[in-house]
């Protein structure tokens, strides 16, 4: 406990940095994942192929590999940037594949008649998705999306190792190998930090789920 209190500033900064990474990555991956999901259910084969390829690549590559390509592959192609944004991009790409599959399952759960009725009254494909299908689909996928988001918070621990640094998990390396403190209490502090983010996130998701649920 003393270790956590003595280094409270370091833990707090780490928590804020992790939170910052996660908020950007959550917004990015939810938007991108939903777009990819609409690709996957699109009637236009090239879009479907793009969506399928995207999910196949990013869902099946380890996050560390995706991050490696973002942090070292992009500069190799002449793209310069802050490692923070490379890290966030990697996390967004990876998480978007899981978001996509969750959203797609929601779209598939919307009865086919809904889409057919939308087309019958003259809505275009994009209109029917936006007005009819997605609002119903997104309600039903709050629980799986919540799991994906919580997994993303935990995955963000890897981002620190790709030049970002200063996140909650890298607090561990600074305290143990640089200052020689015992590993277990330091890691307990790190674990507590992640719980501070994930448990309220879970509670909030439960509230959102109750608010959005409709009687069918």
């Amino acid at each position: 406990m003393d270790i956590i209190l003595d280094n409270f500033g370091l833990y707090r900064d780490g928590l804020l940095k992790t939170l910052q990474i996660c908020i950007y990555a959550a917004i990015g991956s939810l938007v991108l994942g939903t777009v990819i999901a609409t690709f996957r259910v699109s009637p236009f084969p090239p879009l479907r192929a793009t969506g399928t390829a995207w999910v196949t690549v990013f869902r099946n590559c380890p996050l560390a590999v995706v991050l490696f390509f973002c942090a070292f592959g992009l500069p190799e192609l002449g793209i310069r940037g802050a490692y923070f944004w490379f890290g966030v991009s990697g996390l967004v790409l990876y998480t978007s594949a899981f978001v996509c599959e969750a959203v797609r399952s929601g779209i598939n759960a919307v009865p086919l008649g809904q889409a057919e009725a939308a087309r019958a009254v003259g809505l275009t494909y994009v209109q029917s998705l936006r007005q009819i299908v997605l609002p119903q689909a997104l309600r039903s996928v709050v629980p799986p999306l919540g799991s994906v988001m919580i997994a993303m918070v935990k995955n963000s621990a890897i981002v620190g190792a790709f030049g970002v640094g200063g996140d909650l998990f890298s607090v561990q390396a600074r305290l143990t190998s640089a200052q020689g403190l015992a590993l277990i209490p330091v890691l307990l502090g790190v674990a507590a930090g992640y719980l501070i983010i994930t448990i309220p996130a879970g509670v909030a998701l439960g509230a959102i789920e109750r608010r959005l649920s409709v009687v069918r």
Binding site: P75, R80, G165, R174
Partner: protein, 297 residues
Amino acid sequence: MHWNAVLRVGAALVALAMAATGCGQQQSLGTGTSTPPVAQDARFEPGTTMAKIANAHAIRIGTKFDQPLFGQQTLGGKLTGFDTEIGRTIAGALGISPDQVQWVEAPSAQREELIKQGKVDLVVATYTINDKRRQQVSFAGPYYIAGQSFMVKSDNNTITGPDSLRPTKARVCSVQGSTPAENIRKYIDPNQLTVFDVYSKCADALRTGQVDVVTTDNVVLLGFVANSNGGFKLVGDTFTKEPYGIGIRKGDVAFCTFINNALTQAAKSGVYANAWKTTAGKVTTQTPELPALDPCS
């Protein structure tokens, strides 16, 4: 294409597993570039570590296998570097020829455990002597004083030392949780620091222009300068002191004294200077003198 990718990922996983299990493997490797003398009539008081090693005619030395210029395994399996030459010199003083030395890989994080568990007789592995480590092991030496320094691209003339980092807003790279990374924080703003898990990633970031400076011990940087085909250079003097010692079992004063005598002897006979010139001396013009040795305790 698809199966090709699958195979490639598979091969990477196998390589990773092999690297993971290869740690701490013992292997006998051939001689290096210089040949330290082997004592023919080595006799030691019974019961000492020296007598044990000399009678068994086998010594196990822990060193780095991936540290250019100090302890690096070549593709042919040979170990070359200043640390391995120092190890061979000590083995020679015990009457053991260089090709009878059993080398054990000693990564930074495992050095104390290897000594405490008796898996090695001594460790020569860019091993900085400090009080925290002295609580777990004893040190002979130091046999070399390294220090933290800076590596930049060859065409960079704005970085001259630690005090030039803040005004130039240089992006500095080092390894997460390492002593050099903590040392440099005094000289820069937090957002100037980029940290990775290994120095090779820092060198890569320097090459692609993602960072401006890499900082750690000068000898580690020298290895990267040597492999950069003139792309990188060292700048500024060292601004810390890292005395490299030889790690042995805690409290083995007799062995410590013996190693210190062997080092002094090697410095007198020119073996020490020769060991440097044939290894780390290839990329620097300076040849170090043997530093003043710490008393054994």
